[in-house]
């Protein structure tokens, strides 16, 4: 009975209020709402449409050019053969070399900031420096890399100089992802380990770092993506040679990565088919890295839960 009564009151209330709620919106308000909604849909469709168009265009124009010969041989002026094997190898070398150096540096800096830094000002300056680094355009990295690594340190134009330049560029990326992940490690883990008598370094090594492995992996994926896509910073530091080398010799000599090769083929030589072949590979790699980053996130979320 009580429930019934309540119902009547409620419905009565809403009937009374209905006059106010159902009062039709004025023409202006209606127009505003409709226009804004339409605009939002329009812009979102444009954004997604652009992505679909660029991906489809590059893949459709590029995939037919990718043959086994294309990816497994070096270019030769003598035979007129065009192959991108050296560019693929150079890209792999430069990604590996950069990651090997930037990973300990970036994670170390993040560990310092979250675990050690007691001086708030110093921590603030370090974070500000990282933010500044992530805002500097790649062409400036290229110039400074050329001046410092190639000329001052005497590395010449080489993949190693390029990799070192990319280390500086990617330092903030690794640092930020590692830092965010370190913050998610519960304080109680650390306290538990300290309570058992472990020193700070031991706690970091055995408790903190193993628990933020997902952030480190995500950082690696992001950094790999940036390195794959980078070209302006490598133009003057790594150069554009197309010779097949092993890792050691490769790092010491100049070489074009896939992006630089794409630029040279498209802009300087007008070989658009080759350029689209490379572009298709780059776009496919971008897709794969995106999916990988997502999967890593999902995997570790499940593992945590």
């Amino acid at each position: 009975m009580a429930a019934d009564e309540k119902k009547t009151i409620e419905s009565g209330g809403s009937e009374k209020g209905a006059g106010m709620i159902k009062k039709p919106l004025s023409v202006q308000r209606k127009a505003y709402i409709n226009i804004m909604t339409a605009l939002m849909w329009f812009c979102s469709v444009i954004t997604c449409g652009l992505v679909v168009f660029i991906l489809a265009y590059v893949l459709i124009k590029g995939i037919p050019n990718i043959t086994w010969n294309f990816v497994s041989t070096a270019p030769s002026y003598m035979t007129g053969n065009i192959g991108i094997l050296p560019d693929i190898l150079n890209t792999v070398y430069i990604v590996l070399a950069s990651l090997v150096i930037v990973l300990p540096l970036g994670v170390g800096a993040a560990v310092y900031l979250t675990e050690y830094a007691t001086n708030k000002r110093l921590a603030g300056i370090i974070e500000y420096a990282a933010e500044t680094l992530s805002g500097i355009p790649s062409i400036i990295y290229g110039l400074v890399g050329m001046l410092f690594f190639c000329q001052f340190l005497g590395l010449q134009t080489s993949l190693l100089a390029g990799a070192l330049t990319l280390v500086i560029m990617n330092l903030p990326t690794i640092m930020r992802t590692a830092q965010e992940s370190l913050k998610t490690v519960p304080q109680s883990y650390r306290e538990g380990a300290f309570g058992l008598g472990a020193g700070k370094w031991r706690v970091i090594r055995t408790v903190v770092l193993p628990n933020c492995i997902d952030g480190i992996i995500t950082g690696c994926i992001l950094a790999t993506g940036r390195i794959l896509g980078e070209s302006a910073a490598l133009l003057f530091t790594a150069g554009f040679a197309h010779a097949v080398n092993d890792v050691i010799k490769g790092l010491q000599s100049a070489g074009a990565t896939l992006t630089v090769a794409l630029y040279v083929y498209a802009k300087e030589q007008g070989e658009f088919e080759v350029a689209f072949g490379i572009a298709a590979i780059l776009v496919a790699l971008t897709l794969i890295l995106n999916v990988a980053a997502r999967l890593v996130g999902v995997y570790f979320k499940k593992k945590r839960a």
């Binding site: 106010m20 709620i21 308000r29 709402i33 804004m36 909604t37 939002m40 849909w41 812009c43 979102s44 954004t47 652009l50 992505v51 660029i54 991906l55 590059v58 300990p104 540096l105 170390g108 800096a109 560990v111 310092y112 900031l113 050690y116 830094a117 110093l122 370090i126 420096a129 500044t132 805002g135 500097i136 355009p137 790649s138 062409i139 400036i140 110039l143 400074v144 500086i168 330092l171 903030p172 640092m175 700070k200 370094w201 896509g229 070209s231 302006a232 133009l235 003057f236 992006t259 794409l262 630029y263 498209a266 802009k267 658009f272 350029a275 572009a279 780059l282 776009v283 971008t286 995106n290």
Partner: protein, 288 residues
Amino acid sequence: MNRHKIETVVHGIFLVMGLVTIACVLMITVYLIIAGIPAIREIGLIDFLFGTEWASTASDPKYGILPFILTSIYGTAGAMVIGVPVGFMTAVFTAKIAPFKVRTIIEEAVSLLAGIPSVVYGLVGMLVLVPGIRELFDIPDGASLLAAIIVLAIMTLPSIISVSLTALEAVPKEYEEASLALGATEVETYFKVSVPAAKSGIAAAVVLGVGRAIGEAMAVMMVSGNAPNMPDSIFQSVRFLTTAVASEMSYSSGLQREALFSIALVLFLFIMMINAALNFLMKHDKEN
């Protein structure tokens, strides 16, 4: 005692790793200043910044970078005029209206857009945009400021969308509920309550976009035509600050090379100002 020593050493190592970022920023600043000052001294600051003619390889070389500065400013402004409304609307849609599935699709699209290498944008621009502009406006060459503006607008979309999205998400639910309870419709609430509440975050998104646009080199180099003209019209072949450095670096020497470093210094100063603005807005956003 021994353990204590290890701890101190490890602490020291991590401290050094933390200081590497500061060292890098200092190194970049110092190198750019050292490399950039000599040419400015020789050419004269006023002649360098406000000279309207760049003819570095002429017998009587001229080193005026006003065309590059103006092109960079116009190009960035143009990219923002196109990119900000589109990015902003997409962000509001994604944050407030889109159903979960649509939202996931848009987020994925945005992260792909951010991941596509700039040379790929340049390549697509060269083969789609440049001929398109040439035919549409019936001009001899489509490689122009307009093409660069469009490419930059697309390339800055992901930064604009993702930063504004984060800002819009952070708006307290109570604000929106209060507005809805007062009789505003959902769309009105989003634009008249949520957006103003997230305004410094959205401003930060725009500033970040400006930074991205002004620093982009390769994609712009492939579509802008690269002639050192004053940007009198959007159909002109132009050179940006970034592309001015990139296009002559490989064969430059002497004063010409030094002048290129000076251009990089000017670009760096622009970026530092943008960074300061960004930092200010982000802090402002956090405090609110």
